[in-house]
Subunit: 358 residues, 2 copies
C-alpha cells in the first residue's frame, strides 16, 4: 500500500510538472504565421519596402513569434483585390491605398489624399490628432478590418506633358492618363481621360496615343523614362500627400496576444513614416539625376486660371459625390476644417522659411 | 533495491523537470529595469511626451520585460548633465538635445539643427538616407553612448519683438534672449545677447529688461504668454528643424537581448516622428487661439538685408568654428551637400504647391 501511494504521488508530481512545463513553453513560444498581400510588384520601391520592413521588424521584436509573409501582386494575382482578401480572411493583412476601393465604398476615397488637400505633415497631424484615424476606423468597421496609414509619397507631380499649358483651352481635347478622382476633375475640364497599363505608358506617350500622363514623382518616375520624351514636368495639385494603407483582419488581430498587437501597431506606424522619408530622399536623388542628364526639362506650374478651373471642377464634383453620403461629408468637412487651421501654421513656418531660402 | 532505484529515478526526473521549468521561466521573464533622464520638466509637452510614450510602448511590446523609468529634471536636478549621466552609467538613457553639449564637444552642435539649414523632412532624409545617422554615431562613439533622433519641433519662430525690425540698424543695441549658436550670430549683428531663466522671461520682456526673445513656436510659446506683451512675431531662420536626442549607454545596450534592442530602437524612432506631428498639431491649434484672442499680433519676416546680414555672420562663424575641426567640417559639408540636392525637390513639391494654395 505504502509503495503504491508513493508511486502514485510521484506520478502525479511528474504529470503536473510536465503539464506546467509544456503549457509554459507552449504559451511562450506559440508562433503566429501571417500573410500580407500588397498591391505592388516585388521590386516597386519604396511602396513594397514598407511591408517588407514591417515583416522584418515584427519578426525581430517578437523574437520570431510573429512571422509575416509578404506576397507581392505577382504572387496573388489580385493587385486590386486586397480589401476583399483581407476581409475574407485569405490574407491576415494588406498593403494598398484606400482610394482604390472608392467604387465599392465612396467613404474610402478621401483617406488617401484629396486634390488641393493637406500636405504630408498636415495630414499626419489630422490622422493622429485631428480625428482622422477615428474616421478611418469608422469607414472600415463595416468591412471588419482595421485600417492604418501605410506610408506617404509626399506631394505627387502633376505629370509629364509634351506641350506647354498656358490656358484652360490648351487642356481641351488633350488625351491624358490620370486615374481616379483627379481624372474626373480633368474630364470636367475637357480632357479625354484614359487609363493605360503601366507597361504601355512609355510607348503610348512616345507615339502620341496620349499627350500627357501622371505617375508619382521623380523618385518613381525615373525608371519609367518619361523624361526622355516629354519636356514639361508640371507640379502637383491633385495628390499633395498620398498615404498608402495597411489593412488588418479584425478577428485575426483580436487573436494576437497584447504584446504582439502592440508590436504590430508600432511597426505599422514607423514603417509608414519611414516610407515618407525614404521617398523624400529618392525624389531628391532622382530629380538631381534627371535634371543633370536632361537639363532642358522644364518644371512648370499650371497658370492660375487653369488651377482656378481645376478647383472649381473639384468643388462641384464633391458636392455631387457627398449628396446622400453623410459619412463622406463628415470626413471631407473634418479635413477642410483641419486644413484651414493647420495651413496657417505651415505658412508661417516652413513656407515663409523656404520663400527666403530657395 | 528495486524500490530504492525507483525512488531515485523519480527524484531525478522531478529534479530535472523542476530545473528545466525554473530555467525556462527565468530566461523568459528576466526583467530589465532602466532609468531615463530628461532635460525637460515633468509637464513640458511635447518634449517630455516622447520619452514617456517610449516607456509605455517598450513596456507593452516587451510584455513587461523592459521597464524604463522616466525622470524629469525636477527629479535628478541636472537638466544639462544628461550626456554625463548616461556616459557615466548613472542613467541608462537620456532625452535631450545634442547642441547642449557643444561646449564639451563642438561636433555635437550641428546634429540638432543649423541656421538656414534643412527643414524637418529634409533633415530626417539626411539622417536616415544621407549619412547623418552614421556621422552622429561617429561623434558620440568617443563618449561611449549611442545617439538617435528624439523628436522634432519643426520650424521654430524667430521670436517675439516689441518693435518692428526694418533694417540691420534696428537690431543694433537690442537686448535679446536667444541662446546657443543663433545667439552668436545675433551678437555679430550688434545685439546684446543674454540668457535668462525661463521663469523670468515674461517679466523681463514686460519691464523692458530685454526687447525681444526667442522661445520655440506657438505650440509651446502660448503658455509663456509673450503674445500679451510683444506684438511682432518674427518667422524663423535659426532653427528650421530642431531635432531632440535620445542617448543610450552603449554597454547597457549591448547587454539587452536582441529582441529588446530592436523594441527599444523602434520605439525611439517612432516616438521621434510622433513628436514632430504632435508639435505640428499643437502649433496649429495654439496659433489659432492666439490669433483669435489677439488679432493685432503681426507675423513678420525679417527684411532681406537683415536676413542677408544673418547669413553672412553665420557663414563667417562657421569658418572660424571649423578651423582644426575636421569632423565638424565633415558633418557641415555633408549637410550642405544634401541640403542643396534635397531643397530642389522641396521647392518643386511642397513649396510650389503651397504657393498656390495658401
Amino acid at each position: 500500500m505504502k509503495i503504491l501511494r508513493w508511486r502514485l504521488l510521484n506520478l502525479l508530481i511528474i504529470a503536473t510538472l510536465t503539464a506546467v512545463l509544456s503549457s509554459v513553453s507552449f504559451a511562450k513560444e506559440k508562433v503566429y504565421k501571417w500573410k500580407l498581400a500588397t498591391t505592388w510588384g516585388p521590386t516597386l520601391s519604396p511602396f513594397i519596402d514598407a511591408p517588407k520592413n514591417l515583416s522584418k521588424m515584427v519578426e525581430e521584436m517578437s523574437n520570431g513569434r510573429l512571422i509575416i509573409r509578404v506576397d507581392a501582386s505577382n504572387k496573388h494575382k489580385s493587385a486590386f483585390g486586397i480589401l476583399d482578401m483581407v476581409k475574407g480572411g485569405q490574407y491576415d493583412m494588406g498593403h494598398s491605398a484606400s482610394y482604390y476601393w472608392k467604387g465599392k465604398d465612396i467613404n474610402t476615397m478621401p483617406l488617401t489624399t484629396m486634390p488641393f488637400g493637406m500636405t504630408t505633415p498636415e495630414q499626419y497631424a489630422w490622422f493622429y490628432h485631428g480625428g482622422g484615424l477615428e474616421l478611418m476606423q469608422k469607414v472600415y468597421k463595416k468591412h471588419k478590418v482595421l485600417s492604418f496609414p501605410g506610408g506617404n509619397t509626399g506631394n505627387q507631380m502633376g505629370g509629364w506633358f509634351k506641350k506647354e499649358i498656358n490656358s484652360v483651352d490648351d487642356l481641351k481635347g488633350l488625351k491624358m492618363r490620370i486615374p481616379g478622382f483627379a481624372g474626373e476633375v480633368m474630364a470636367k475640364l475637357g480632357l479625354t481621360v484614359t487609363n493605360i497599363a503601366p507597361g504601355e505608358l512609355y510607348t503610348s506617350l512616345e507615339r502620341g496615343t496620349i499627350d500627357a500622363l501622371e505617375w508619382v514623382g521623380p523618385g518613381m518616375d525615373i525608371k519609367m523614362g518619361f523624361h526622355k520624351i516629354a519636356p514639361y514636368y508640371y507640379t502637383g495639385w491633385h495628390e499633395p500627400s498620398t498615404e498608402l494603407q495597411y489593412l488588418v483582419n479584425q478577428k485575426k488581430f483580436n487573436k494576437l496576444p497584447k504584446d504582439l498587437q502592440q508590436i504590430l501597431l508600432t511597426a505599422i506606424k514607423v514603417t509608414a513614416y519611414d516610407m515618407y522619408i525614404q521617398n523624400y530622399d529618392m525624389s531628391a536623388e532622382s530629380w538631381s539625376k534627371i535634371s543633370t542628364d536632361y537639363p532642358d526639362i522644364k518644371i512648370k506650374t499650371f497658370p492660375k486660371p487653369v488651377l482656378d478651373a481645376m478647383k472649381k471642377a473639384n468643388a462641384e464634383l464633391l458636392v455631387e459625390k457627398t449628396k446622400d453620403q453623410p459619412l463622406l461629408k463628415e470626413i471631407l468637412d473634418s479635413q477642410a476644417a483641419y486644413q484651414k487651421k493647420v495651413r496657417e501654421w505651415t505658412k508661417m513656418s516652413d513656407y515663409l522659411y523656404l520663400k527666403d531660402n530657395l
